[in-house]
Symmetry: C2
Subunit: 232 residues, 2 copies
């Protein structure tokens, strides 16, 4: 059985939650029509002497140039027919030695901030694109299931594991923090309650600085200190 | 790469939390001494046309005769050298065609009640034994890591995912529920606070029945109704 990793890399730019997707392409003017090429999560086979974590880091590094991305394994997908769809087989036949082989994949989700700069993204497999989570097209293989479960896991762990801060700048305002929560959880939050709850979080530390370069009423800046979480 | 599943099956008998372990054995009067044979989690290769879930269910069924065990995937372990230990290789060489192959494993944890009957447990690989969680010896391969993470996951999800009820009889007393929590979380809980918290849980439903066959003060019986959890 072949083993791969696939990565659902989420980015937040202050306004939208985005997922990094690859446009499949073929090496030559290929036998596949535009319609037969799909979008997919970035992924690759695991090399013989490579751990799963290293493989996932490598895929993201090759794709975005980023190192030290927050990256977390969340599920292994092993349906015997997960790469046996017609379009999937058509694409795999253009470059795989054994496109008919069963492939099980270990899925990771990653989190990055797109506030300051948007990582370049390109891959051997095709151009990459940050796609808003609400506008994800039907993906290749079982990548719809993988991205659905990645998003559900992100939602579940946003508060319990304090992972949202990975998608914010080092210094952030409470407005930015609230927007992140609203966008990820896909619901409006009451500003007063939200701020009351944040006040109780030791790990959200006021910096005694204000944001710069804004026209009206600069807001207080905060930072996240993982050492002050109660469960760490 | 070879792909296997391994199962950390936890059982609770009202007093102790136990893990099902296999004593490795060899087919013939083997080349391995008592000292070279270890205990391990039950597991097996995934068959070519079998999903990961089906493989995990099969392993537990073959081992215990049980079907419909609560079984949940929690992590894939893929260290390139995870079966390359000296004792591990000695044992694998007694029955594997390619003992030197890399094996990645997808780990599941399972939960059963040992209150009413203790499932028989035997396997091609050796006799199985329910071992108290506090007395687990050093295990084969990376099974120490797997059982540690299984236990951590059980602790984390005991309350948030209401999975503890899988280890209780269908009808249980609040004393049984509290003991389960104390044993799994490895800490004493205040009886009054515990009962106050349980009262707030819609999914713990009083049956209006009392336990039978006890000498003094029979306690109220409760049951768990998954439909009444708020997150289901």
């Amino acid at each position: 059985m072949d083993v791969s990793v696939d990565c659902a890399l989420f980015g937040f730019d202050g306004e939208a939650l985005k997922l990094l997707l690859i446009h499949q392409r073929t090496a030559e003017e290929g036998p596949l029509s535009e319609d037969e090429l799909q979008m997919a999560l970035p992924g690759d086979f695991v090399n013989e002497q490579e751990s799963l974590e290293d493989a996932a880091s490598r895929v993201l590094h090759e794709l975005t140039g980023l190192d030290n991305v927050y990256l977390k394994q969340f599920h292994a997908f092993g349906d015997p027919n997960r790469v046996k769809g017609l379009k999937d087989q058509q694409w795999l036949r253009t470059f795989r030695e054994h496109p008919e082989n069963r492939v099980m994949t270990v899925a990771y989700f990653g989190l990055v901030s797109l506030h300051d700069h948007i990582p370049r993204a390109s891959s051997f497999a095709g151009d990459a694109e940050w796609t808003e989570v609400g506008s994800i097209p039907q993906l290749a293989f079982d990548h719809d299931d993988i991205s659905d479960l990645a998003l559900a896991t992100l939602r579940e762990q946003l508060e319990s594991k304090h992972i949202g801060f990975e998608m914010l700048p080092k210094k952030f305002t409470l407005r930015q923090l609230q927007t992140l929560h609203e966008i990820v959880l896909d619901k409006k939050l009451d500003k007063r309650n939200f701020r009351k709850n944040v006040k109780r979080m030791d790990h959200v530390v006021p910096l005694g600085e204000k944001e710069e370069g804004v026209l009206h009423k600069p807001a207080q800046l905060f930072t996240f200190d993982a050492n002050l979480t109660h469960d760490s």
